[in-house]
């Protein structure tokens, strides 16, 4: 058994000849709550796809929960951006959640009763049990996000990965989600890809900055400076961290 949830050494990745990640060496300990931040095109989603085994490293090594990513898949819970899901696909909320329990050996058309009950429990945990029989595509953004979170949590994963979970949900939902994640962090490692570092800084214990290259900090090392009013009339928050990026 290893105590590392994630470990990469000299990890490089290129689409064709275009390097998106260069020499990434990071360690995430079990029990960490890590925020992955960085500009668009900085490689955040690519890193997630490498961890879930969807892409293979061009160079270097990556181990997830002590295994190769392709083998660790069933121990990972993954919450993609709901906007990438097909809204016209005929599937119910309950069916989506139960995907988190599905294995290729389950032949035949129906779920066992205890699996269905577990599906309802998982939805209830997120306060959306009453949506179980609805069509997934008809839900609001916040509801879809919760369903995808329920799908990830139902398998009691050791590592939970979320890709921009709160983009296009309102602030109340966002707070709810982070409170729940804080709770979940007691039993699982969490890797959260986000734009909004100010909001999550009170929840996470580590920040990974990613802009082709990477740097990791404990949250204590990051200075958040609240500034005055910007020319746009909004409160802006400047983040200063010694990334060297």
């Amino acid at each position: 058994m290893t105590d590392k949830a994630l470990e990469s050494r000299g990890l490089w990745f290129a689409y064709d000849d275009d390097f998106v990640l260069e020499d990434i060496s990071v360690v995430v300990e079990k029990g960490d709550f890590v925020a992955v931040v960085g500009p668009n095109g900085g490689g955040k989603t690519t890193l997630v796809k490498l961890i879930t085994g969807h892409l293979q490293p061009t160079r270097g090594t990556l181990t997830v929960l002590g295994e190769a990513p392709a083998k660790a898949g069933s121990r990972i819970g993954y919450v993609p951006q709901f906007s990438t899901m097909d809204a016209s696909f005929p599937i119910t909320v309950l069916e989506v959640v139960l995907q988190g329990l599905f294995k290729k050996t389950l032949i035949g058309p129906v779920w066992k009763k205890d699996a269905v009950e577990e599906g309802f429990r998982s939805l209830a945990q997120l306060g959306i049990a009453e949506l179980a029989r609805k069509r997934f595509g008809e839900l609001s953004g916040g509801q879809k996000q919760r369903v995808l979170l329920a799908r990830a949590l139902i398998s009691s994963p050791e590592l939970l990965i979320l890709d921009e979970p709160t983009s296009s949900v309102d602030i109340a939902v966002e707070e709810d989600i982070y409170e729940l994640l804080k709770e979940m962090n007691r039993v699982m490692t969490i890797l959260l890809v986000t734009h909004d570092i100010t909001f999550v800084s009170s929840y996470v214990n580590k920040v990974m900055c990613l802009n082709k290259r990477s740097a990791c900090h404990d949250t204590g090392e990051i200075a958040l400076e609240r500034e005055g009013h910007s020319p746009y009339g909004h409160k802006v928050t400047e983040i200063r961290h010694q990334c060297g990026l």
Binding site: G53, H54, G73, I76, I91, F102, K103, K104
Partner: protein, 273 residues
């Protein structure tokens, strides 16, 4: 049984068997957004038919060969050569048809009507075709029963399915194979130009009323059988070309389904009205 009666029966069986396959394969086409690929494949098949006619063997085998080549070139072109998928489809679409026309024109003493391959002819449907369609239906229904959840999850979210250890690539290839075989067998009924509508329209109509993938397949099959039967009946009564009539009925059926769906929605929004 006299010959007119047996033709009726034959046609009715063809409508039923091809409808079931069209509904299930059509659901794959619609949910996986493969309508353009399927249209291209259907047209490219003419190349194989032409070669078969030229070398005088069964056009059905030529069609299967061409469909297989189409899928192979598409997969290799997209994944290995990184060529744009729509470009590969467009090229194969035209090339297949060009080869078909060329071979057919080179065939000495050629008598078979090119138009029946393009637009279908129920009289071209043989006993063998019906048997092949019946086997395809059996395969599809059994496959969906046994692997219902595999099919659902790979179609809905490939990435998550791969993470949970499902054979995503193999299954995607099987989906393509099912679509290709269905198209080849259906071209006899409605023709290769029109077959894509028979796959896409009933399934799209069914998607308006379905919360599950399997119920979409069932409803799509029901719609396809209805459109087939109505089209065949109408074409017989009014002496119209069968393939074209089936497709026009399907389009009308899809429009009707849209209308019904809109009315249902309005009722739900205003329960008093």
């Amino acid at each position: 049984m006299n010959s007119v009666m047996s033709l009726y029966l034959f046609t009715a069986i063809a409508a039923l068997l091809s409808g079931i396959a069209a509904g299930i394969a059509g659901t794959f086409v619609v949910t996986r957004r493969l309508a353009v690929m399927s249209g291209g494949l259907a047209h490219a098949v003419l190349g194989g038919i032409g070669l078969a006619v030229f070398l005088s063997f069964d056009p059905l085998w030529g069609a299967f060969g061409a469909a297989f080549l189409f899928v192979l070139i598409l997969v290799v072109g997209k994944n290995r050569l990184r060529e744009r998928e729509d470009t590969v489809i467009a090229a194969l679409w035209s090339l297949g048809m060009a080869l078909g026309v060329l071979f057919i024109s080179l065939t000495p003493g050629y008598t078979v009507d090119l138009l029946s391959y393009l637009f279908g002819n129920i009289l071209l449907v043989t006993r063998q075709n019906l048997l092949a369609l019946a086997l395809l239906d059996l395969f599809l229904i059994t496959g969906v029963f046994l692997f219902k959840r595999h099919i659902l999850y790979v179609s809905f979210d490939e990435e998550y399915s791969a993470m949970r250890g499902l054979p995503v690539n193999l299954m995607s290839l099987i989906f393509l194979g099912v679509i290709a075989v269905t198209i080849v067998l259906l071209t006899r009924v409605v023709g290769l130009v029109l077959v894509i509508a028979l796959l896409a329209l009933p399934a799209s109509a069914a998607n308006l009323f379905s919360r599950h993938l399997w119920s979409m397949m069932a409803l799509a099959s029901l719609f396809a059988v209805l459109f087939n039967s109505a089209g065949l009946g109408l074409s017989y009564l009014m002496n119209l070309p069968t393939g074209a009539t089936i497709i026009i009925v399907s389009a009308a059926g899809y429009g009707l389904a849209r209308g019904v769906r809109a009315l249902m929605k309005r009722k739900r929004v205003m329960p008093e009205g």
